[in-house]
Point group: C2
Chain length 191, copies 2
């Protein structure tokens, strides 16, 4: 099953069969049941993940309410970098909202992997740069777009998500109350 | 003057004197006048910058209005990753709002530098990971905090900025109208 990760990595960088074995050893693939909390507020994150199938939600608890700030679909990486690299407690949660198959990279194994397979670092860098680009764009979207525009962006960028996620998660992700999201959806569907 | 960049890099990674010369060659330091536009909407970004002194503003033009979404102070990196790496036109502007001394890394020179000084890639990766962490936190702040809380965060994280930047830039950065920011400031000062 883990060959999946080797194949994924080989799409981006050249690695020998010997190096492929190191990759398999360092990045195990695990299945997590729906509802599994991968990271809790207050914990220091020690792992990053590559989502092979399933769906992860990032949320904060603010005044007792869950505020969803991200969804990670298949093909995306999941990491809390501030916690992972500066060893400070996470302020948020990662939850599997579907059964998920994730490639798990422990922070110690990452160091080992980069030492043994140096070209893996190129993959890390380019992948993190891509994620940073996306994150920069997301932040800009919150600052420049109306809630309706953000909903339309979501429809456009992650169309499948709308059928997989409860409305109240989506509402907080867009930054509105569920009632407002219902109104936005009705307006959009009328067009 | 460029030794500054070598010194900065040597704080993070070991490089030989020969490698230091390559760094100096690949990352020139340039002075940009106040008002210089480093990147325009519609342009494909070809450079990233390290701010040695001065202040850069990122803004979008939406319905004819400038919306400021970031300020880059001394010690920060400035890059539009989606445009830089996917070669798609930028949707925003980078403007020097003070005279700024920037280390300039052209995208072609970056490739050359990583080839000639492989350990430079480690620096890139860790620095981009740190930036991604910050960006993740910023996005979360917009989703979970009130405008007043965002103003207080700004006071806390970038206290010097408030004296360097016009109120209307700050207001759009916080996501409110200038009048609302004035009210927030008065409320905060009363305490």
């Amino acid at each position: 099953m883990n060959n999946e990760i080797v194949e994924l990595i080989r799409k981006a960088i050249d690695i020998s069969d010997e190096e492929a074995k190191i990759v398999e050893d360092c990045i195990p693939v695990k299945i997590f049941k729906k509802g599994t909390i991968l990271l809790r507020e207050g914990q220091i994150s020690k792992e990053s993940y590559q989502n092979l199938s399933g769906l992860i939600r990032k949320y904060y608890i603010v005044d007792g309410n869950e505020i969803t700030t991200n969804f990670y679909e298949e093909g995306t990486s999941i990491a809390s970098f501030t916690s992972l690299h500066q060893k400070i407690p996470a302020k948020h949660y990662f939850e599997c909202i579907e059964e998920s198959r994730l490639a798990v990279l422990h922070v110690d194994k990452e160091i080992e992997l980069i030492k043994k397979v140096p070209q893996y670092e190129t993959l890390c860098r380019t992948s993190v740069e891509k994620d940073l680009g996306k994150q920069q764009d997301s932040l800009a979207t919150y600052l420049i777009a109306s809630p309706e525009q953000r909903y339309l962006n979501l429809l456009n960028e992650k169309p499948k998500l709308l059928n997989r996620v409860p409305l109240y998660y989506l509402a907080s992700y867009i930054g509105v109350k569920p009632e407002s999201l219902s109104r936005i959806r009705k307006r959009v569907m009328k067009r």
